[in-house]
């Protein structure tokens, strides 16, 4: 799990650097760069979930829910909209905004808050450190810090 997380971080960081570098080569298709950026950014977030939400048994537990939300909801919306740039002319309104802008604002900016916070709370007991963990770490402290 951790190896996958670090690998994803390195690869997505390289992808972002390639995306930035492509700004100096006008022949590169902007839509391709946009898709690369959208995918790499979401993979960064997924990588941090793989690293941080991992439990002591090595499993991800409720962190999988966060991975699904990030890939399917945040990634899905960002990648789909990156593939279809263009103005909002003629778009129907959804919750007060043009449809695609509404998907971005509510789908990327609001819904993940509830879903990720819910996943965090659900998996908290299995993920967090116990008093016994703290006592064990204290016993392992180097003498200079004890």
């Amino acid at each position: 799990m951790r190896r996958a997380g670090v690998g994803l971080l390195a690869l997505s960081s390289l992808a972002l650097l390639v995306g930035y570098a492509s700004a100096w080569w006008p022949s590169v298709a902007p839509r391709g760069v946009a898709l690369l950026f959208a995918a790499a950014t979401v993979l960064q977030l997924v990588a941090f979930v793989l690293l941080g939400a991992r439990r002591r048994d090595g499993r991800l537990g409720a962190g999988w829910m966060a991975v699904v939300v990030l890939v399917a909801l945040v990634g899905g919306i960002l990648i789909t909209t990156a593939a279809q740039p263009g103005s909002a002319e003629g778009e129907a309104l959804l919750l007060g905004l043009p449809r695609r802008a509404a998907f971005v604002l509510y789908g990327v900016g609001i819904a993940p808050l509830l879903l990720l916070a819910g996943a965090f709370a659900r998996g908290f007991a299995a993920w967090s450190a116990t008093d016994a963990d703290v006592a064990r770490l204290r016993a392992l402290r180097p003498p200079s810090d004890a």
């Binding site: 960081s13 390289l14 930035y20 700004a23 802008a101």
Partner: protein, 484 residues
Amino acid sequence: MTLVIMALYLGVCLAIGVWAARQTRTAADFFVAGKRLGVWTLALASMASTLSGFIFIGGPGLVYTLGMGAVYLVLPTAVTGAIGAWVLGKRMRLLGEVRGAMTVPDAIRIRYRSPEAQGVSAVAILVATVGYTATNLLALGVVLSSLSGWPLGVSIWIGTAVVFAYSVSGGILAGIYTDLFQGTLMAAASMAVFVTALGTGGGLAGLSQTIVAHDPGFLSPWGAGTVTGALSFYFVFSVGTLAQPHVVHKFYMLRDPTRLRWYPLLMGAAMTVTLLLYIGVGLAVKAAVIRGDLAPLATPDAATPTFLRTYAGAALAGIVFAGVAAAIMSTVNAFLNVGAAALTHDLPRAVGRTLTDPLGRGRVATAIIAVLAALVAQWSGQLVAFLGIFGFGLFASTLVPALAIGLNWPGGTRAGALASIVTGLVLTLTVESLVFFKVIALPRGVSVAGAALAASTVVYVVVSALTAAQAADVDDDVRAMLEL
């Protein structure tokens, strides 16, 4: 009325400072609030110190200019609470509890057994702290000057004196409880303005229809900016948030670790409510200009003041200006605290020294940084804007790999941490300087902060892989913590 509300607000801040000064007896009280915060306090204080005056002044101006493109700067709020808690919450709390860590460079030193890494990260924090604080003090001076008519220089020093008074006397304890008051004020002001903004143009749907009919690109998914520019905002402000020292060091302060369970929900909700103003004012002013109700703005930063003058009563304007001051002052206080800790705690420890009377020296260091930042704000002209530009990016590019990845990956090494911190520091300072002084120009959509963050991450992973033998050189308690 506006001035009366501002005076009341400043008086409450000072009163909290006096109360907190009586509670502050040790360096732990001064730097980590005696580790006695509840989760509501932690969430609101984190929100208040995360959001600076930019959210109330610069942000609505950015929405007025870029439309949906500017929204990507605040969309990460939905993910940063949970990811931050997963990545840092448990381990920083354990380092505080087991090793007495009080600062972000403390965590880096303990993780890598490296005083050098603590020293280099403290230098990065100090550089960014003075710049960011100066920018915020200048903004506070502008707000006070526009309300009172006092000269800008006088206003900067009056604003500095108030923050200085409660930061020096009560340290982070005063900061936290003023943050609590300030955060509540910011959220209330934002909600009130959002409702007023929607009322100016027939609700959100009415504003959208007006804008799309005149400028259909403005409310396209990427607004008036570039796709890569918008996604750079999203990348830097989501991943970069994982290493903002004035926010993440609050994980050390929680009284009961089990209450962390609800932190992402509370923090995210508080941030979302407070950010309503950011979007609402930008859209309302854009629609009002299109309708001809307002003249086009001379500068984007005029969006909020123009909106308040035109649509808000004196009481609401007073509350919002107090909210702006609150946002600025809570951020300044948090920066003064991490800067003072870098100066009196991290740098001495990096060279193997521990200072006597850390509480007294912490107060002196807070005073020095506040005066230095106020001098920079008053006299350095364009330099202030330059210093303010790279604060967030500098924290992100120097600290994310060593801290956020390092606390979760046993393969990270001391050499990797040092190399990534130096890469972030040199890249950010060099390229931002060259761009600011117009020696080079970057193509649209290229973000120095984003590129430096990606580069320092790659450097951390690659150098750690090349020095893999060092990975085993950690203390037993740290090794055990990394497995939890």
